[in-house]
Symmetry: C2
DNA sequence: TTCTTTAATCGTATATTTGCGATATAAGAT
DNA sequence: ATCTTATATCGCAAATATACGATTAAAGAA
């Protein structure tokens, strides 16, 4: 592909895309669902639920954390994770700003 | 990676992930923004705005269309696109159902 | 100290995505 | 019929993502 052009887009566009990207895998959706239901979880509990190897789950958790969707803290030999609701709120807002606001003013018939 | 395991997740998880995936690139966010602002656009107008080749834009449009985020109809030699607001509403709902509802009941302190 | 438990990271194979030029297609204009 | 315009598709190269086993790291238990 030669060169990636992601940088040529606005920061907001990149941020929204990055958030969406973190959600763009069913395993990560499933992880978030578990965290939402239980408020917090250690990695092992998630490994027990998902049909994936420990290393794979750990990698997905890392991506979610890097993207800012979850928080994680070390607790002895284990790691505790929970959803970063503030991030969800922020992106929900950005998303609405970009689309829903515009939607109201021009949900006309189109092609 | 051997085998893809996406199939082992629930349909709703897969659907949400697929929607997010369509949003997971700044170029596609930018395209949606343009469509939201102008209600409808032909491919060439988008090509003029984005810093990408015509073939690349066409590919992104195809992905958005396949994922159901936009509608597209042939209009003589050109193609007209617009946002499929119904899809946005549907996924907004799914998303809220999965996360926001749970959020209200347990936005406790966590790790 | 050594053993066990828990999780992160490394290395690697494979699949998918991104991007572009070139080409094909389709319809209106000449 | 040929030319022009607008877009889709093909073929390819490079970058990323996905998945897992093996290894490492870190801390509590024996």
């Amino acid at each position: 592909m030669a060169i990636h052009k992601k940088e040529s887009f606005s920061q907001k566009e990149q941020d929204l895309a990055a958030f969406a990207k973190a959600l763009a895998h069913p395993a990560r959706i499933a992880i978030l669902k578990v965290l939402a239901q239980r408020n917090e979880c250690i990695c092992g509990q998630i490994v027990d639920i998902l049909p994936l190897a420990q290393s794979t789950v750990s990698q997905h958790l890392k991506e979610l954390k890097t993207a800012g969707l979850i928080n994680g803290t070390v607790d002895g030999p284990r790691s505790c994770y929970c959803i970063n609701w503030k991030a969800f709120d922020k992106f929900n807002e950005e998303f609405s700003f970009l689309f829903n606001k515009l939607k109201v003013q021009n949900e006309k018939a189109c092609c």
